[in-house]
C-alpha cells in the first residue's frame, strides 16, 4: 500500500496529467523526495530552502500540515496528501 497524493491542475504537467499519484515515505519530506524521483521537477514547486513554499497548501487527510509538523509530519500507508496552490493576491 502507498500514500495517495492529489495533484492540482497547475502541477499536472509533472505527472503526465494524472490527478493523483502514489508515493512512499515515513514523513512528508521523504514522500516529496520519493515523488521527485518519479516526477522530476515537482519538489522545487513545493519546497524552497528546506521548508514548504508559503503559497502552497499541503494537507494530510483533513489537516493543513502547517498545523501538524510541516515537512517533518509523519505519514503512513493509506493516508491521502492533497496539494492545493493557495489562492491569494493583493
Amino acid at each position: 500500500m502507498a500514500i495517495e497524493v492529489r495533484i492540482p491542475t497547475i502541477l499536472r504537467n509533472y505527472t503526465g496529467g494524472a490527478k493523483a499519484v502514489a508515493a512512499e515515505g515515513a514523513t512528508l519530506d521523504e514522500l516529496i523526495s520519493n515523488l521527485e524521483s518519479a516526477h522530476p521537477g515537482i519538489k522545487e514547486r513545493l519546497v524552497d530552502q528546506g521548508s514548504l513554499r508559503r503559497f502552497v497548501n499541503v494537507y494530510l487527510n483533513d489537516e493543513d500540515v502547517r498545523f501538524l509538523g510541516g515537512l517533518g509530519t509523519p505519514v503512513s500507508d493509506g493516508d491521502t496528501v492533497t496539494v492545493l496552490p493557495a489562492v491569494a493576491g493583493g
Binding site: F55, N57, R66, L84, P85, A86, V87, A88, G89, G90
Partner: protein
C-alpha cells in the same frame, strides 16, 4: 470571453461592498467553463491590500467541487482603493490556469468596475465580459 449571469455579478459586487474597505474574495464554481454556483470565501488576511483564502475552507470547497465535477470557473477578489486590474502579487500567485480572474473595484461608492482576466505564466490578458440575464 467570460459569459456570466447578472445575478452572479450582483452577488460578487454585494460581497465586495459588504467587506469594503477590506478585500473580498471567492469563487464561482461551474462545469465546462460555465459559472453557476456562488461561493463567497473568507479573506484570511482581513486586509485592504491583500487577500488569501483560508486554507481549511479552501480544502473543503475544492473537495466539494471535485465531488460535483465542478471547477473554479471564476476566482474573484476586490480592490478597494485602486482600479480593477491585477496587481503584481495577483499575477505572481495566480495558480488556476483555467480560471477567469475577476477583479471588482469598490473605490467609487456609486460606480462599480467589474473586469475579467486570464493570468497564465505571469502574463495578464484582459477579456470581454458578457452579462446575461
Amino acid at each position: 470571453m467570460l459569459t456570466i449571469p447578472q445575478e452572479l455579478v450582483d452577488k460578487i459586487v454585494a460581497h465586495a461592498r459588504a467587506d469594503h474597505p477590506d478585500e473580498a474574495c471567492g469563487v464561482i464554481a461551474g462545469r465546462d467553463g460555465v459559472p453557476e454556483r456562488f461561493v463567497p470565501m473568507a479573506n484570511a488576511e482581513r486586509s485592504p491590500t491583500f487577500y488569501r483564502f483560508d486554507s481549511m475552507e479552501q480544502l473543503r470547497v475544492w473537495r466539494e467541487m471535485d465531488d460535483r465535477d465542478e471547477e473554479p470557473v471564476v476566482i474573484y477578489h476586490s480592490h478597494t482603493a485602486t482600479e480593477a486590474y491585477p496587481s503584481r502579487t495577483d499575477i505572481s500567485y495566480a495558480s488556476e490556469p483555467n480560471a477567469h480572474y475577476v477583479l471588482v473595484s469598490t473605490r467609487d461608492e456609486d460606480e462599480v468596475e467589474f473586469r475579467s482576466y486570464r493570468i497564465l505564466d505571469g502574463v495578464v490578458t484582459e477579456e470581454e465580459v458578457r452579462f446575461v440575464p
